[in-house]
Symmetry: C2
Subunit: 259 residues, 2 copies
């Protein structure tokens, strides 16, 4: 029963997938107990360490608890999106049954501003490709994306047709992979460009997500500011004692000059 010589997923990931599937299919139910590590190790014919690696994945995704002395408990039934889905607007849109579209509104090379230099970790004289992209869900404007790419990546992105649906998927084919992303979420007001393209009024509130993505080596790939029309999207985050990927950030109130 082999004949499967292709890119083999590590065993612990296969097992995690199976368990994840069982959980989202309500095999245990919220609050239900998983089998013990030992029992799972026997069932899958692997060592306890491999089972632990698999369960650690589910733990970090917030699907199960983990506590000394008792079996693991199912926290949540809901299927968790892959990282790849969070990373790509197009993939996410398709997964919820909508048709994603993208239109380049503006595109051009500029010398990097201080913010871009810090985020993309590039020199003062380096240039970036700035792209403004309108994203649509089944024909309706949903989000406006303003992205800065460093020189090397910009050279690739520049060649894409203006209506490319998924930049991420194209870049993957070119061998560019996103491994990490940091997101800052807050609220912004629509500027005239936002308003014109998203079809709202100037000063209307928008959900803002600023994001820096990096490749597996830790090299910044993009620095982007996305503005979503409210009511169509929410961000869901899980954190725990076992992993703390979420923080609050204080924003110093803007001091109005008094004269």
């Amino acid at each position: 029963m082999r004949g499967d010589p292709v890119t083999r997923e590590p065993r612990y990931r296969q097992i995690a997938e199976e368990l994840r599937h069982a959980i989202t299919e309500h095999a245990y139910g919220p609050g239900g107990k998983l089998p013990s590590e030992g029992a799972l190790a026997e069932r899958y014919e692997v060592s306890r360490g491999t089972i632990r690696q698999a369960l650690m994945l589910l733990r970090h995704d917030g699907l199960v608890t983990s506590r000394r002395g008792t079996r693991r408990v199912v926290l949540d039934d809901a299927p968790v999106q892959e990282f790849a889905q969070m990373q790509s607007f197009a993939r996410w849109a398709r997964s919820i049954g909508e048709t994603p579209e993208g239109r380049v509104i503006r595109q051009g090379w500029h010398s990097a501003d201080p913010d871009e230099r810090r985020q993309l970790r590039i020199d003062a004289d380096a240039r970036v490709l700035r792209v403004v992209r309108l994203r649509l869900l089944s024909g309706r404007p949903a989000m406006l994306e303003r992205t800065a790419y460093p020189e090397a990546l910009g050279a690739i992105v520049e060649t894409l047709p203006a209506d490319t649906v998924s930049v991420t998927e194209f870049l993957e084919q070119a061998g560019v992979f996103v491994a990490d992303a940091e997101h800052t979420i807050d609220l912004a007001r629509a500027d005239p460009q936002d308003a014109a393209l998203l079809g709202c009024a100037v000063e209307d509130p928008l959900l803002r997500e600023r994001r820096r993505s990096t490749d597996p080596a830790g090299v910044p790939l993009e620095w982007s500011e996305d503005r979503y029309l409210p009511g169509s999207v929410a961000f869901v985050v899980h954190n725990s004692l076992a992993s703390t990927p979420m923080t609050r950030q204080h924003m110093v109130p803007v001091v109005r000059d008094s004269g």
Copy 2:
């Protein structure tokens, strides 16, 4: 009372703390390389496995990359908040040098609505304690919090004075610990109560965070909806191929009636 009756931190956590400290003190710099696992194992006189556990923590917090073949690279210099800080408004406020305050606006027992029943995993006939709390930063209103507690926890919370600064810290002393939390972030409009208490206009946009916290056993502890005045807070999330605690959530657009 002998020498060291306290709970000892595991070795890998101690090592993670030291490395975390070294990173935030810019000992390696963003893009810098960490020593190899073997070198660290020798320095700390532990096995490679222990070092790997320590580095895993930093990996999940988004401080370093992790890639086969090369040494780990520092992704970010910024200090990461503890889970405990994200979980408690008061602790967070103090960590940024502000004085937290809290005032109970309303408090009372109600029979749980369907949403509360699902989130808190309780029966149809169960009651919840609903508490509306205004949170202030150094005297200025910052956030309005509407929380539902299940019966057992409500009985404790109910006894607290109306101006308790940190509910979380009180509960910890009572032996109640939060281990997991799931946050949903989007945008909301101020209702009359929001407006009156936060000092904004009705329909003004607010940053909304809905949160369900659970204890180490996976039992829901609270279901809360927090509304922040914009401009004072942002949420920062890290996710990666190694851990995917963040997802987008689709919200079905509200159909406007056309007549």
